[in-house]
Symmetry: C2
Subunit: 391 residues, 2 copies
């Protein structure tokens, strides 16, 4: 009886390929390079437990009651100060909205900015969660090819000229799925082009803190975020389970619209967890904690890269990320990643074939490999098994 009642919006929403994979591979025997999960040893368990006990004792019922839509003021102040101190971004807590993970921010952006057939610009390959969230609102999704140092800027300018695009969505640091980072030159160009064509720049930076080599760049719009939306999250540095991210929006009109959309979406994000996170951040040294995660991921990344050099055929290309969670590999031309995926599953190794990261389904010969959620031995063994299937 329900089939005929489903909305266009729902019919336009692809189910997440990754979540489908994850569900079928929860068994302990499976080596998974598929998810984008932090290494659980990086969660500050004891400290979060201490914070929980402290906030219940210090704030009592307030941590269990309904709260403000924009989020805990103290947490927003902490975020504003950190952005100011680490990147020199001029923001106050008033510019910040706490979201139920970055995924909610993507959904809210789609809701508030996309009318059917509006053009939006994405990277190709691009972040799956963003493609899914935006798809719902039926935009014309325009994919700009990602080169080693960022989007192809000629292609981008051509699109901006002809399309009146609502926004450009980018993951400028250790992009998901490619692991690539925009160069300083392309950062400047992207910023100027967005401004020149009056196009909002949506910068999603979940991985920026996870740089284990080279100098951090921060947000592209850090010197002037007025025409941008900046997204951040604590999922990769503290805990993803609490689903806490944030948006920085300087423009009042847009921020009020997003706030109203959030009211309608979930009233406010879990306030109990907001208090815990805020207490954790003010009682611990976040930078020190992140330094440990960086060292861990650097080792895991390097293990994966050297295993790939050992076990993968020479003609295979792969990115060498300076941070983040993913390596992007390109199979020999005649191979389909989906076919490799099926064979690898039988050998109890999974990864994400490149297909869902392209807006138009295609027989991709690319694949995304996550290095953060497996120990070194497992990484070596998994890459070895994959290598045997690729030869």
């Amino acid at each position: 009886m329900f089939e005929e009642k489903i909305s266009q919006l729902s019919l336009s929403t692809p189910p997440s390929f990754i979540r489908a994979i994850l569900k079928t591979t929860e068994s302990k025997d499976v080596i998974s390079f598929a998810g984008g999960l932090p290494n659980p040893i990086s969660f500050p368990k004891e400290q979060l437990q201490e914070s929980t006990n402290r906030i219940i004792e210090n704030y009592g019922s307030k941590v269990f009651q309904y709260s403000q839509t924009a989020g805990l003021v103290e947490l927003r102040k902490y975020i504003a100060e950190r952005l100011q101190n680490t990147q020199g971004i001029q923001v106050t807590y008033d510019d910040i909205i706490i979201t139920t993970g970055s995924q909610q921010a993507l959904d809210l952006i789609g809701k508030v900015l996309i009318d059917p057939d509006d053009t939006i610009i994405l990277e190709e390959p691009g972040y799956l969660g963003a493609i899914q969230a935006f798809s719902q609102y039926r935009p014309h999704m325009c994919a700009i090819r990602l080169e080693d140092d960022g989007m192809d800027m000629n292609e981008l300018e051509n699109k901006l000229k002809e399309s009146n695009a609502k926004f450009i969505y980018t993951v400028p640091n250790f992009q998901n799925p490619s692991g690539l980072t925009y160069s300083p030159e392309k950062r400047k160009m992207l910023f100027s082009l967005a401004r020149k064509y009056n196009c909002i720049l949506v910068e999603d930076d979940p991985y920026g803190d996870l740089r284990f080599e080279g100098t951090p760049y921060g947000y592209i719009s850090k010197a002037d975020p007025s025409g941008s939306i900046l997204l951040g999250t604590f999922s990769k540095t503290v805990t993803p389970g609490m689903r806490l991210g944030f948006m920085v929006i300087k423009d009042d009109t847009l921020r009020i619209r997003i706030n109203t959309a959030k009211e309608a979406a979930d009233l406010h994000s879990n306030i109990f967890s907001q208090y815990i996170l805020w207490d954790y951040l003010t009682h611990n040294d976040l930078e020190q904690h992140i330094t440990k995660i960086r060292a861990l991921y650097q080792r895991q990344c390097s293990t994966m890269l050297s295993s790939m050099e050992t076990y993968f055929p020479e003609e295979m290309k792969f990115t060498r990320p300076e941070g983040g969670m993913f390596i992007w590999a390109t199979l020999p031309e005649n191979m389909h990643a989906i076919e490799l995926f099926e064979k690898a599953k039988e050998k109890n190794v999974v990864f994400v074939p490149g297909n869902p990261f392209y807006i138009d389904a295609r027989n991709a010969n690319t694949m995304r490999l996550n290095f953060t959620n497996s120990d070194d031995e497992i990484i070596v063994e998994g890459i070895k098994r994959l290598g045997e299937l690729i030869k």
Copy 2:
């Protein structure tokens, strides 16, 4: 620069009148009958703290990691069993999706079922959070007058005949804002009419457990929920701050659609809090806890009713709820609730004027009074001040 870019969806979303009121009345001196806040003394603080410590110790990193979209299996099993035991509803955990509060369920229903100009049927006066969530998707909202024992069934059948409505949204027990409950006769009629016209029945029951007089009815569709969507929440019985509600959907097509929409909305609800809630529910006697809340609210409701009898003019009408959180009062005909609201604010008493609960803005002479979030003395004082302004 952003103004021109706002989507139709956002332009169709009214900001919440109540959230706006709450923000301006956070001062300690204000007597607030405006919110729908549980009494904070009802939160099982110590037990939730115990549960938090226990789940971190028992489950470690799992409670901090990414998780499944549909929610913690153990929590869903608990909910399924409770629905079976207390109401005889035939459900398994597979039929249940955990949501980020009931508000998210309303948003997901709007997303997955409403195309612009589709007819949906609501109660009038109706729940503001639902009006807001559904408005976004630009339906034709058809309001059916609420009588003392439920919707006007003739009006409902006429609308169903002429409209091919997608769904009927109802709060069958201690409705928000009216405090009214559907009679057994109207329950039967509503269920048959929904089925006869192939219309989905969306039953939102946040208050059903809070019955302090008479026999509980449960969900209207409890004997056969196959054509319905049932919503529930732990916000009124355990804690609203954790934003945990649930949906029961027997139909596979619809449940899969809702699940995909939830993936795109926030990946999954806070898993740390889902573990805490589940642990709390399995280590404590929920029914005993609810019994205490009922006794508390019964007293507060009765204090408010008797104060209204004492201080309000005789010609004023008001509902006498057998549970829930609200009393609905009707002012003398020539008075506007908005004007009373402005005057009362000066005397540091706030309530919600009836206007936003009607789909068409109007000069309502009705008002919603919350009795759960004020102590007895405060209730008496607040009603006394209001009474002085009404005379």
